[in-house]
């Protein structure tokens, strides 16, 4: 099964480029394949991918280390939708996976934000409880949501909308980490820190 062609058929060039490292490695350890199938519930496609790559020099190949290397990526794949291939740095595939994560963040963020705003508008029309107004305090936003006040939902919808690009940044950090691109993971983390500083310095 070729996972990449299934993922995005249009990028023909990229597929030919990465098919080689992705293919069955002659030196693949049989036990690695075996343990991969044992966690098949988490990520069914994982069995096709080399996990403990024979190409990379494994310095400490204790069973504990190997287990961590194999299980953690599965969890991340489940959460972020990232295809975890630590050996391939800066390949077409890694780049595309990164884009895929960012793409999901955007759609999820926009959808949640829209739903919250629609609830807010609906409550406003139905209940007329309060005049929707700016709610500058984050705790107050949640208190108003709990009290089913339209202003709470509208403010929370706006907050989710504002948070969506921040989620893209967080998603990119994870993507860089799983590409083992520490430099860009660090750069992106710095961007996140600056955004978080605005949360503190931006207080009224």
């Amino acid at each position: 099964m070729d996972e990449t062609t299934q993922h995005e058929p249009s990028s023909g060039e990229a597929v030919t480029r990465i098919r080689h490292p992705d293919g069955p490695e002659p030196g693949a350890k049989p036990d690695a394949d075996h343990s991969a199938t044992s966690v098949v519930v988490l990520a069914p496609k994982e069995a096709d991918r080399p996990i403990a790559a024979p190409a990379t020099p494994v310095t400490e190949s204790t069973p504990a280390r190997r287990a961590r290397v194999q299980v953690v990526p599965h969890l991340i794949e489940l959460v972020t939708g990232l295809v975890v291939t630590p050996e391939e740095k800066k390949t077409a595939r890694a780049q595309r996976d990164l884009n895929e994560v960012v793409h999901r963040m955007l759609i999820i963020g926009l959808a949640i934000s829209t739903v919250l705003m629609l609830i807010g508008i609906g409550l406003d029309i139905a209940l007329q409880r309060d005049i929707p107004t700016a709610v500058p305090d984050f705790r107050d936003v949640f208190a108003r949501v709990a009290a089913l006040r339209p202003s709470g939902f509208l403010a929370l919808g706006l907050l989710v909308l504002i948070a969506t690009p921040v989620l893209r940044v967080i998603g990119s950090i994870f993507a860089f980490i799983y590409e083992r691109d520490w430099r860009y993971a660090g750069i992106t983390f710095l961007v996140l820190v600056i955004i978080l500083v605005s949360l503190v310095l931006g207080r009224a």
Binding site: L161, I187, G202
Partner: protein, 270 residues
């Protein structure tokens, strides 16, 4: 502003359509319209505009990112400068005298009007420079285009300025970033637009957090504005090809001039 939401939505819709036809964010038109027509405080208008910038960036990003045009690595490097600029801009804006903000806005409108004169469509020769090399598939030809980046330092400086203006005045800042990325840094225009769009959302979020906590993001203004711009941008991208763009550009430049005059007047009289 309660009760005026439908009218705000309608105006934002027109602005969004115009903006997408010209490839310019709506913020430069939104803020003068919101302040001029509704007598809204400029900081509330900026808050609404910055939210619509985030909405537009996220919606467009879902398209660009899917096409693999966005240079995420370069975006993150430049974003260090841009978010710092936006943070400084946002904090300055909430403290600054509204009249001074109006004056600054007028100056930016003049710059945008001027910069529209040299909006070019052709790409510079793209070569892999060894710095941040990336590639994408050209949607029209199916050709894979590989390019590198020139003058990263200048790009960082321009990004700081763009972020600062974005945070200060609630516009996206693509009008500064796209020409710099394309003409100075040597990126293909398509990739520059996608990357700039990705960055704009992150930059706007940074200053939006500041505006939100100061109560300048009023749902009754920000939500109709954001929705209007989003829907308008969809309409604009569909009818864009049918209109003669030169005429449209002149109309837009005329509007910018009127709005700049309005902003300068506001700066003086308050």
């Amino acid at each position: 502003m309660h009760g005026q939401e439908p009218l705000i939505f309608a105006i934002a819709l027109i602005v969004g359509a115009l903006g997408s036809m010209l490839g310019i964010g709506g913020g430069v038109l939104l803020i003068p319209l919101l302040t001029g027509l509704f007598g809204m405080p400029i900081k509330t208008a900026i808050g609404a505009s910055i939210v619509s910038v985030i909405a537009t960036s996220s919606a467009a990003g879902a398209v660009y990112v899917g096409r693999g045009l966005t240079h995420t690595r370069l975006a993150m490097v430049l974003e260090i400068a841009t978010t710092l600029g936006a943070l400084a801009g946002g904090i300055t804006a909430v403290l600054l005298n509204p009249n001074l903000l109006a004056g600054l806005f007028g100056a930016v409108l003049i710059y945008v009007m001027y910069s529209m004169r040299r909006l070019r469509k052709e790409d510079p020769a793209t070569v892999p420079t060894g710095l941040l090399t990336a590639h994408y598939t050209e949607p029209l030809t199916g050709q894979v285009i590989t390019y590198g980046v020139h003058h990263l330092t200048r790009g960082l400086a321009a990004s700081f300025v763009a972020g600062n203006i974005s945070g200060l005045l609630g516009i996206g800042g693509g009008i500064i970033k796209v020409p710099v990325m394309s003409l100075v840094m040597g990126m293909p225009l398509r990739a520059a637009i996608a990357t700039s769009n990705f960055m704009i959302g992150i930059t706007a979020a940074t200053s939006a957090i500041v505006y939100f906590q100061h109560g300048y993001i009023d749902p009754s203004v920000a939500i109709p504005t954001a929705l209007g711009v989003l829907v308008g941008a969809q309409i604009g991208s569909r009818i864009g090809g049918r209109l003669r763009s030169q005429r449209l550009k002149q109309l837009f430049q005329g509007l910018l001039l009127v709005f700049a005059a309005q902003m300068f007047y506001r700066a003086i009289t308050g």
